[in-house]
Amino acid sequence: MKKILICISLILIYFACAEPEKPLIPLGNVDYVERTENGQTLIDTVYHTVPDFSFLNQDGKTITQADFENKVYVSDFFFTHCPTICPTVKAQMLRIYNTYKGDDRFLMVSHTIDPVRDSVAVLKKYATKLQIETDKWYLLTGNKAELYETAHQHFVPAAEDKDAPGGFTHGGHIVLVDTKKRVRTYCDGTDPKDVDRLIKDIKRLMNEEFK
């Protein structure tokens, strides 16, 4: 009898301590907006969203948020001459690509932060060498200020810095965005374990969004 009790309490302790999956709460500032409906005052929760942009992909086609309609996507920031973390992040992005490239609810996008050197032609060559398909993974270039603003809207630091290796500083984050343009989570793109977690979170988010 005693043994059974011990067993049961051990099982209970296990379940109490097992880490529950964290809900993917939208990141950033939250606004509460009052509105009146049928004479009743309701409060809407408004989350941060990524504003629209207009960039060129590796085929020279204009890409805006219209191209992300009904898609969950991951986003990162890089430059092709990057001597530091970018190849590592790209290798991890390739893992995500290989996991979800068959799923047409999912897209990937990498923005350059060095549009002066990273022209459409340079990005095209890069994409060919990475062996990625344009309609699954956009490499985007365009107006420098708009690219940096887009990085910041994804909560990723990016800036020109003459003292940094390669001339730019930026975060190696991979950011997950939902169909309503809300940033839901991100991972450290240089840490394979954190990327494992993101790969699971992508699946969770898609299950939640496309019920």
Binding site: H81, I85, C86, P87, T88, Y126, K129, L130, Q131
Partner: protein, 139 residues
């Protein structure tokens, strides 16, 4: 008396565990400094598994180029590489940045690490080898 022999038994077990811990860590890690330098200066591009990045950056694991160009390697590490090369039958034309921070000893350590990591079977390179090979690219 009984508790004393018990204590002795525990000490023996601890000693055996410690011995195995030390022994395995020394056995599996002949080029530890080289690995640390690799992680710091090369791994971003050539990756932990030495397989690098598709057609953008050439692999070091199983690279025929690495084994065949041992003579040029110290210069290539110090001054970078920028000419098209063929590694295991695949063309690469990227740019490897110069590394002016590594000393001659550190270059030897990093070479010995990549020559022997991931199943590679490259030659041992001494500090004197590196000094001699760097003569070719002294400016």
């Amino acid at each position: 008396m009984k508790s004393l022999s018990k204590l002795g038994f525990v000490y023996t077990i601890i000693a055996i565990i410690l011995f195995f811990l030390c022994w395995t860590s020394c056995q599996t890690e002949p080029y530890k400094q080289g690995r640390k330098l690799y992680e710091l200066h090369c791994q971003n591009c050539h990756q932990k598994d030495g397989n690098a990045l598709m057609a953008l950056i050439p692999p070091l694991a199983g690279s025929d180029y690495l084994i065949e160009h041992q003579e040029d390697l110290p210069c290539n590490i110090r001054h970078g590489m920028k000419h098209p090369i063929i590694v295991n039958g695949m063309p690469y034309e990227g740019e490897m940045p110069a590394n002016k921070i590594l000393t001659e000893t550190q270059i030897a350590n990093v070479i010995n690490y990549i020559n022997n990591a991931w199943g590679n079977k490259g030659p041992y390179v001494s500090y004197e080898d590196v000094l001699e090979r760097l003569e070719k690219c002294k400016k």
